[in-house]
Symmetry: C2
Subunit: 165 residues, 2 copies
DNA sequence: AATAATTTGTTCGTATACAAATGAATTTCA
DNA sequence: TGAAATTCATTTGTATACGAACAAATTATT
C-alpha cells in the first residue's frame, strides 16, 4: 500500500543540498565551480523555487504560472505572446503555461476582434479569487527568500541583479 | 528547402527580452513582479545561460554538463549520486546529464569494487581534452556575465548570493 | 495593389529540474 | 546476527526553457 501520486504537479520541493568537496585539488586550480556567478545564480534560484513550492503547495501554482497570473491581472487583457514578453518567457514556454492555467479555468481567452491571429487572455473570477488569495503569500515568499540578508543587503542585491538583467 | 534541425541540442540561445508595461496600474498595487527577488534571479539566470550557450555553441555543452565535467575532473573518480550532490543536482537530473556525457564518450563508468550499487565515473581522454579547452572559455563567460558591474559590485554580488544559498 | 517583412501562435525536439516510488546493496544498530 | 534504516541508481510523470521551423494574419514598403 502506498500513497497515490500527485496528479497535477509535485506538491513540494526539497532543496538539493550541495556537498562541499574535501580536497582542494582541482583539475584547473584556478576554476572553482562554487565561486562562479552561474552556479551561484542557479543555487539561489533553486532555493527560491523550493521556498515557493513549499509556501504555495496548496494552490499548486508554479513560479511562472503565478507570474503569468500577476501580469494578466495587471493588464486585464493581454495576448499570449505579449504575456510572454511581460513575464520574460519564450513563446513556446508561455504557450504551455497559459494552456495549463486555461485548463484549470483560471484564465479564459477571447478572440481579438481587430486581429485574427490573436486571442486575448483575461482572469476568470476563479483566477481573480486565487490571485487575491495568493498575493500576500507571494510577498511572504519574497521576504523568506531574502531573510538571510539585512535590509541594506537586500536592496543592494536587488539593485545589482537589476543591472545584470 | 530548409535547413535541417540541430540534432544534439539547440546551438544558441537568444535572451528573452522582457517588455515593460506602460501602465502603472496593477491588480495589487503593492506587488510589482519586476522587483521580486524570484523574478530577478530568473532573469539573471536567463542572461547567464544565454551567454553560456553563445560562448560554448561549438562544444555543445550545457551549463550542467559543464559543471559535471568540472567536478569529475576535480574528483578524478566519483559516483553518480555524489556527483549530483557536488553539482547541486537531483539524482534524477544528474542521471540524464551523466547519460548524455557518457553517450558522447566524454566520461566513462567503472564498477566500484567495494560497492555493488555504484559505478565510478571518470573523465575519458576526450573529456579531459574538452575540459582543458573549455575552462578558459568558462572563465570568459563568468567575466562577460558580470561585465555590467564594477569589480567591487561583482564581489558584493557573489558574497550576497553565497549567503542566499 | 502587390510584395516584403513582421507578428502570432503552434509543433517538434532536446535538456534541465524535481517528486514519488522502487529494487538492490550497504550500513547501522539493537 | 538480524532487522531497520539508509544509500544508490532508476523509472514515471509534470513543468519549465528554448531553438528551429512553420502557416496564417497583419503591417510596412514600394
Amino acid at each position: 500500500m502506498h500513497k497515490p501520486r500527485v496528479s497535477q504537479m509535485a506538491s513540494q520541493r526539497n532543496l538539493v543540498r550541495q556537498e562541499k568537496p574535501e580536497t582542494a585539488h582541482r583539475f584547473a586550480s584556478d576554476y572553482a565551480l562554487e565561486d562562479q556567478i552561474g552556479h551561484l545564480l542557479r543555487r539561489a534560484n533553486q532555493r527560491h523555487t523550493s521556498i515557493f513550492f513549499e509556501s504555495l503547495s496548496d494552490q499548486k501554482l508554479t513560479p511562472t504560472q503565478f507570474a503569468a497570473l500577476v501580469k494578466i491581472g495587471d493588464e486585464k487583457e493581454v495576448s499570449q505572446n505579449r504575456l510572454g514578453r511581460l513575464t520574460a518567457m519564450d513563446p513556446a514556454t508561455i504557450l504551455g503555461v497559459v494552456k495549463r492555467l486555461g485548463d484549470r479555468k483560471l484564465i479564459a481567452a477571447h478572440p481579438d476582434p481587430n486581429d485574427g491571429r490573436r486571442s486575448l487572455w483575461r482572469l476568470s473570477s476563479r483566477g481573480e479569487r486565487l490571485l487575491t488569495e495568493v498575493l500576500p503569500i507571494a510577498t511572504r515568499i519574497t521576504r523568506h527568500t531574502l531573510a538571510p540578508l539585512s535590509r541594506g543587503e537586500q536592496s543592494t542585491l536587488l539593485g545589482l541583479l537589476r543591472k545584470l538583467s
